[in-house]
């Protein structure tokens, strides 16, 4: 099957090839459109990743707190709730069901709802990883912190978390890359991101193979950039002698 890459230089209305490939003003080409769609994918993913890291860290920590059974139960419930419901179903719950139950949510844009859904879904996974990281540390670490006279927040901040985060950088890298791929479900609630572009432009131009190839490349680039950033973080954060210093092979 012959490829026809000119399809990206076509105007989205007249289907005429535009010289220079980029349209101007309201007359956009498919190339303009795919970059705009990429912007949405990156925007949704990074915002959701931020929420996932913050919420995931909090939940992960409170699940390991000593002497706070209710906080631990809340953390457990959070994780089980958000990781046991399929992501697409969660998106629909946020988009169609939540606003019906809580009317003020109707004014929230789909972007906010998708970011919340994706962020909370991933936060459950990150919380579980952080808990694993914390539990992987020998009990003596916690006791040492307490023996120093640190309060609970202090020994988490200065003793446990710095080690735990180093341990979980590899799974965090996977999660960060996953969030880019999972952001594809956002098309279901009218976010004009890459997957929606692929479905729509593929139909309009009748060149779905070229469109899907281009979209795939952009997803790979996005995920790979995140992978390299995390590999860099992993290398810079390595402390010789720590549990998590590993074999010295950064990245994975």
């Amino acid at each position: 099957m012959a490829m026809e890459w000119q399809v990206f230089c076509k105007d989205t209305l007249t289907s005429e090839v535009v010289s220079g490939c980029l349209g101007s003003g309201k007359d956009i080409t498919y190339l303009n459109w795919i970059f705009k769609a990429w912007g949405w994918t990156v925007g949704v993913s990074l915002t959701a990743l931020l929420i996932a890291l913050v919420v995931g860290s909090i939940i992960g920590v409170i699940r390991t707190l000593p002497n706070s059974p209710w906080l631990v139960r809340f953390g457990n419930a959070w994780v089980e709730l958000f990781r046991n419901i399929p992501l697409l179903v969660q998106i629909f719950l946020w988009y169609h069901v939540a606003p019906a139950l809580i009317p003020p949510m109707k004014s929230l844009s789909p972007f906010v709802l998708v970011v919340l859904a994706l962020g909370f879904f991933t936060s459950a996974r990150i919380a579980e990883q952080l808990r694993a990281g914390i539990l992987a540390l020998p009990k003596g670490q916690r006791y040492a912190g307490m023996a120093m006279g640190f309060t609970t927040p202090q020994y988490y901040r200065y003793v446990i978390l710095p080690m735990a985060y180093r341990i979980i950088i590899p799974p965090l890298t996977s999660e960060s890359m996953n969030i880019f791929k999972n952001s594809a479900v956002a098309f279901a609630v009218s976010i004009p991101e890459l997957t929606q572009f692929a479905l729509q432009a593929g139909e309009e131009t009748s060149r779905p193979i070229e469109v899907y190839l281009a979209v795939t490349v952009l997803y790979v680039i996005s995920a790979l950039v995140i992978n390299r950033i995390m590999a860099f973080v992993e290398k810079r954060a390595r402390v010789p002698g720590f549990v998590a210093s590993g074999s010295g092979a950064g990245g994975h």
Binding site: L13, P192, Q196, Q200, S206
Partner: protein, 299 residues
Amino acid sequence: MKKQVLVLAALAMAAGAAVAQANDTLAKIKSSGVVNLGVRDSSGLGFTIGGGKYVGFHTEMAERIVDDLKKVTGNPNLKINYQVITSQNRIPLLQNGTIDFECGSTTNNLTRQKDVAFAVTTYVEEVRMAVKANSGIKSIKDLNGKSVATTTGTTSVQTLRKHERAGGIDFKEVMGKDHADSFLLLESGRADAFVMDGSILAANIAKSKSPKDYVIAGEVLSVEPIACMLRKDDPKMKAALDDSIKRQIKDGSLGKLYDKWFMQPIPPNNVSLNMPMSESTKAAWATPNDKPMEDYAKK
């Protein structure tokens, strides 16, 4: 490494051979005794009622075409192998021989004519909009500042963009992932209008909780000839399909079929779409032709 190159070369040759195979669908049907018919599972003109049964105006018309093919090929024992297709895969599946022809809801346009051929037009779709009956929206001009739903992967999105730019109006597009989803956007108030093929709008309204709350309003935004699709450069097959359709139009059986699927209660809910035949469909039947969508726009 060398092995991989060999495998790749073998694959490329196999693909080349598939493309190069003789374009005589009738001979293929005759020798195999099987017609691979492409059908739709959730379109207005062809859908499934479960259990592997495919029905609808165009699906039933295609079954009658196959009856005629039995005479043309001289093989009275032709069997139909129903193959579900989607908007995304219908052209590749036709080209690689998975299906022999399809009668669903494919618009005959110039872009597609580069890859495939079409039989004579049997239904002319009019793109309209569905709104809530109490919304007061009467025309596309009333949509300024409103939200308009349509379905991802349909030509209606392009139609909408054209009207938005040409009319100097500004509205927000919300895209449902399928027709049911788009209708839900209208139902839940996230969108003020749903722009789509008339038959799909009618089907969704008929299936809704309270059909009288919705009306199909406004001007016809675009006219699209829907036709059966077959492989390009296969004049014998094209003639066989065209002759069968013309026969069905002439002896009135296609008209009866239209009445059955658009005016009478239909499965699965036993509601009637209540869609009398449009003027453009009548015109297409009066002088059967395979003009693409672009020719309709010129008028």
